[in-house]
């Protein structure tokens, strides 16, 4: 029986378009990626319908973690003198005695969450090891505690710098307790600051509510 010869087809597929697409996606992700800043504490923020812009520069962020410990962070790209001024005022008011080299370390830090007595010790730790250091949180009481000095120092530093307007961010964890938040507000209030921005995760407005209709009307 004569065998029917099936024409041999090449199994090689031209992968060029496939590779093209793959690299296009790759390029997109490289461009779109913004690395998470290394943070010593994990904070899950609550969600809200408000969609105000998150400022990532010229801001002071007060972080409240899930154990209600408070941390202080300064964002100031382009004005490094602000950091020197802050440490300068803290030194002046609390005799912390932080040296110049330790101040340089402060500039690279993600967040400070220690009492003044431990501040030098923390700043002496190399930056790459700081995330392993367990920070006790800035001491707070009903009238503000040490956080008042930090806010005051930052406020003065930004006034001296003059060019940038300081924004106050409060980033609280879902599980942190309300009294801590109230004490943070009190520390702000002592410095005559009454406007803050709470960091939240964006969320859709529930259908049929007043805000939902308002958003729809403006679109």
């Amino acid at each position: 029986m004569p065998s029917v010869k099936i024409p041999k087809k090449s199994t090689n597929v031209d992968m060029t378009p496939f590779v093209d697409v793959a690299f296009l996606i790759l390029t997109f992700f490289i461009m779109a990626t913004k690395f998470k800043p290394p943070s010593p504490v994990e904070v899950t923020t609550p969600s809200s319908v408000s969609a105000d812009k998150y400022p990532d520069n010229d801001a002071v962020m007060i972080t409240i973690d899930k154990d209600s410990k408070v941390y202080f962070t300064v964002f100031s790209e382009g004005a490094p003198k602000v950091f020197d001024d802050i440490i300068g005022s803290i030194n002046a008011t609390n005799n912390t005695g932080v040296t110049q080299s330790e101040t340089n370390n402060f500039k690279k830090m993600a967040m400070v969450g220690v009492p003044f007595s431990q501040l030098r010790g923390l700043l002496q730790t190399p930056v790459d090891q700081q995330k392993n250091v367990k920070q006790a949180g800035i001491p707070l009481d009903s009238t503000g505690g040490e956080l008042t000095f930090w806010i005051n120092a930052a406020k003065k530093a930004f006034i001296t710098e003059g060019k940038h307007k300081l924004t106050y961010l409060i980033k609280g964890d879902n599980d942190s307790k309300y009294p801590t938040f109230k004490m943070v507000i009190n520390a702000m209030r002592k410095n005559e600051e009454f406007k803050y921005q709470l960091v939240t995760t964006p969320e859709e407005a529930p259908k049929g509510t007043e805000y939902f209709n308002k958003v729809k009307a403006t679109k």
Binding site: T16, V19, D52, N174, Y178, F194, K195, Y196, L198
Partner: protein, 208 residues
């Protein structure tokens, strides 16, 4: 892919001993490159943080000792919301009665209906006075779709009192509820001891 073909013998005359060059394929095996490409894609997909956080504005009033500068809330238009532990919500309308009979238990799902119904009630009971048209026109100029209710909205005040067990999430959620329901006037105030006791008494057995 285009492969460059050599012309073969045409035109050229090769001398003796000149070997014909071996034809090399111009095709490159792209598999390792593709592998690497996808590895990088996977890496970047995982590390990308697509969602940037948003913020919510919060303005607190200045402390004032002077009586005339303090904001007064009409009892008829006030709704007090208390936040307890484990996402419990309590509320009462107007002033808290001596026997606490208007103190009610709720949760985050149901409190919205309560805010809306109280809001409607306040709007319905509102009596226009001389300052009303001005307030309405101001709101209209701002582009408020509910400008007709602008002066009635002034009567409606929500007072938020989180207790020591309430979480930050609860606080933000209730502030969010104010935005969602278009409550123009709300305030965060310290909880009183009577209210604390009432919450503690109710929390053991939440009433529906």
């Amino acid at each position: 892919m285009s492969a460059i073909e050599e012309g073969g013998d045409s035109g050229h005359k090769k001398g003796p001993g000149v070997k014909k060059a071996k034809k090399l394929s111009t095709r490159v095996d792209m598999t390792p490159m593709v592998d690497l490409g996808f590895l990088l894609i996977t890496f970047f997909i995982f590390t990308t943080t697509m969602q940037t956080p948003s913020t919510m504005k919060l303005n607190m009033p200045k402390d004032t000792k002077k009586e005339e500068e303090q904001n007064k809330a009409k009892a008829s238009g006030a709704l007090t919301i208390l936040l307890g532990k484990d996402n419990h919500v309590f509320y009462y309308e107007g002033e808290l009665l001596g026997d606490a009979s208007n103190f009610k238990s709720s949760n985050f799902k149901e409190i919205r209906d309560e805010i809306i119904s109280k809001h409607q009630e306040v709007i319905k009971n509102h009596k226009h006075d001389d300052t009303c048209p001005e307030t309405q026109q101001k709101a209209k100029a701002k582009g408020d779709p509910n400008w007709q209710n602008a002066c009635a909205d002034r009567d409606f005040v929500v007072i938020i009192k989180p207790n020591d067990e309430a979480t930050f999430k609860n606080t933000v959620d209730i502030l969010d509820e104010m935005t969602i329901n278009g409550v123009k006037r709300y305030a965060m105030i310290d909880i009183t001891d009577t209210e604390k006791k009432l919450i503690a008494a109710t929390e053991g057995t939440p009433i529906k």
